[in-house]
């Protein structure tokens, strides 16, 4: 009893002492300066407050609600009556036992890998080509790249459907002219999984290459010419100069671009939805399409939320890698 009784007041007096000490300390310093420092400290807070509140409202709260929803049996009936019950991990158990989920995950991973590999390799080639042509061609390539990049993906998806239209599509006609694949005039790209993937892959790569090529090209023009010149004088062929000199300088940019591409391609939804709707069957149904169909076609919102949580966690892991490499690349956060 006694120790408690004695320590409590002592602690109180200690804080009081610190308080008075704190009050007296600034008098040693000119008070106006301390006050100004404190006021200046409040400025960033006030500046951040509106954006912080809004961002919390439109991102943090929904994410929290998403996680909550994934623990409920929220469905179409709930949208009208508001009635639902908390089912714990039931949705996750259903999900992990669902073959369609695993199939979508595998599709997403493989398709993402194919799109990233395709766009990064082509982007590297285009970037390098831009360093080797005259100014007029470089300008033409830049304009063409920006056109492809700027096309809204809803519009480019419609264009793709028309390009690959069976019967009258120009791609089928061109293939038929080549004659390698026989008469392809009535080839239906939407009917065959491999063809549907090819069409979507071409669409994504077509729109992803511009960013990659232009960013890499910006980096490639910064590679000191002396190094390449030195390698050339030593007799290195162009390929070796590129591999041993240019690529070394491009590596940080390349890493960032690859990680960004992984994140973007993993999240692709519009193009798949508008070109194939995940079909034929569900052979092009990636995680995004699977989530959308579960939540907004079947209105199994609880399960959709669970898929979305899992998708987000996988993506967060990738984003963490991205931010770490940003930090390592010296970006001042």
């Amino acid at each position: 009893m006694a120790p408690v009784g004695t320590t409590a007041p002592r602690r109180a007096s200690a804080t009081a002492g610190a308080g008075s000490g704190g009050a007296t300390a600034p008098t040693a310093v000119p008070p106006s300066r301390a006050a100004r420092a404190r006021r200046r400290d409040r400025a960033p807070l006030l500046l951040l407050l509106p954006a912080g509140l809004v961002l919390t409202g439109v991102t943090v709260v929904p994410i929290g609600f998403l996680v909550f929803t994934s623990f409920t049996d929220y469905d179409q009936r709930t949208l009208f009556t508001g009635a639902y019950s908390v089912v714990g991990l039931q949705q996750y158990v259903t999900l992990l036992g669902d073959e369609e989920f695993w199939a979508s995950l595998v599709r997403t991973v493989l398709f993402t890998a194919a799109m990233v590999a395709g766009s990064v390799v082509i982007g590297m080639g285009v970037s390098h080509l831009m360093t080797r042509v005259g100014r007029a061609w470089r300008y033409a390539m830049t304009v063409v790249l920006i056109l492809a990049w700027a096309m809204p993906n809803v519009a480019s998806s419609l264009v793709w459907n028309w390009l690959f239209q069976p019967g009258y599509g120009v791609v089928n006609w061109l293939l038929a002219q080549l004659g390698v694949f026989g008469d392809t005039t009535d080839l239906n790209w939407a009917e065959d999984p491999a063809l549907a993937y090819t069409a979507i892959w071409l669409l994504i790569v077509w729109q992803a290459v511009p960013f990659i090529a232009l960013t890499l090209n910006a980096a490639e023009t910064q590679v000191p010419a002396e190094h390449q010149e030195a390698a050339r004088l030593d007799g290195a062929g162009e390929l070796l100069v590129y591999r041993a000199v240019t690529l070394v300088f491009l590596r940080p940019t390349l890493l960032l671009i690859t990680i960004l591409s992984v994140i973007w391609d993993y999240n692709v939804f519009n193009q798949i939805w508008l070109v194939s709707r995940g079909g034929p069957g569900d052979s092009t149904s990636t995680l995004g399409v699977f989530t959308y169909v579960t939540a907004f076609v079947g209105f199994d919102i609880g399960l959709g939320a669970a898929i979305s949580v899992v998708t987000t966690l996988l993506l967060l892991a990738m984003t963490a890698v991205y931010i770490r490499s940003l930090l390592r690349a010296g970006e001042d956060l």
């Binding site: 960033p44 080509l129 061609w137 096309m151 264009v159 030593d234 000199v245 979305s308 940003l326």
Partner: protein
């Protein structure tokens, strides 16, 4: 790094070193020629979808569906554009788009400029954490916001309203507005700010009269980013706006690909041109910032 400064020593017949003559002019010229033809091939392939869209948009109906495609419309017409603009709610949906996009731009730019000022001109605890969160948020898959927002807006009867879409777009646009604006603030030398301070300007005065005018180009760039992101969104509008009178332009455009209107490709392509045009024009304006900004992870794909 040391590996790069020392050029790889090459042995063998080609390794005759500096004594070897530089590539003969003819070889160099041939190499140029190869590069140029590769560039030409690339341009032809990459521009083709855009060219085909424009080409089809100007074709009269009978010229669109031909077994041998026509590479230039022999009888160019504006009928497809007229048809797209006059039919099926175009003007109503355009108005919806304009309202939602302007709302998003205003909110994102105003809030973004203040937040970016705080994150670039002040040092305070937690600043790094905030930047990391801002970055991470813009990497979220869209369904992670789509599903909870749908449910929340449904329960407060916001589905189908402009406010619902503006809130959804602010969630995706504001983080990258902050990120882009911050870059513009960082580019302003600290001396400018210090000079104003020495002249006795308060923190707010420095911000409003010195910094904000200097980052005006950033405001324009950020507005354009926000415009493009909101103008292009299909998923949120498609999910939240179920009535045709409430569609925004991307949903209007996508509804052209319905099976029932599936063969009017001239109309579809004309609509695509109309929809893409403002974006392409703006893109040409901000292309430089875009390369710099995106490489810093600024824009959501």
């Amino acid at each position: 790094m040391s590996a790069t400064t020392a050029a790889p020593p090459l042995a063998g017949p080609t390794g005759s070193g500096p004594s070897a003559p530089p590539p003969a002019p003819r070889r160099r010229r041939r190499r140029r020629w190869v590069s140029s033809s590769l560039a030409a091939a690339f341009c032809a392939v990459w521009v083709f979808p855009v060219y085909w869209m424009v080409n089809t948009a100007f074709k009269p109906r009978p010229e669109v569906l031909t077994t041998t495609p026509r590479f230039v419309p022999s009888d160019p017409t504006l009928a497809n554009f007229v048809g797209a603009v006059t039919a099926s709610d175009f003007l109503v949906n355009l108005r919806n788009s304009v309202i939602v996009v302007s709302g998003t731009v205003v909110v994102a730019v105003v809030l973004g400029i203040f937040a970016a000022a705080a994150l670039s001109r002040f040092r305070f605890p937690g600043r790094r954490t905030i930047m990391v969160v801002v970055l991470a948020v813009q990497m979220l898959p869209s369904t992670a916001l789509l599903i909870p927002m749908f449910v929340m807006f449904n329960s407060v009867d916001l589905l189908g309203t402009y406010a619902a879409l503006v809130l959804a777009y602010v969630a995706t646009v504001l983080p990258f507005s902050i990120w882009v604006m911050r870059g513009f603030f960082l580019a302003v030398p600290v001396e400018v700010e210090e000079a104003a301070r020495i002249d006795g300007a308060s923190t707010w005065r420095v911000l409003v009269s010195v910094l904000f005018p200097l980052v005006a180009p950033g405001v324009i760039a950020t507005s354009i980013f926000a415009f493009i992101a909101a103008w292009n969104d299909y998923l949120f509008a498609y999910t939240f706006m179920r009535e045709q009178s409430r569609y925004t332009l991307p949903v209007w455009l996508a509804s052209f690909s319905n099976p029932n209107s599936g063969t009017d490709f001239g109309g579809q392509m004309a609509a695509s041109v109309l929809f893409s045009l403002p974006v392409v024009v703006f893109f040409l304006f901000i292309q430089r910032n875009l390369v710099a900004g995106m490489s810093a992870g600024a824009v959501k794909g």
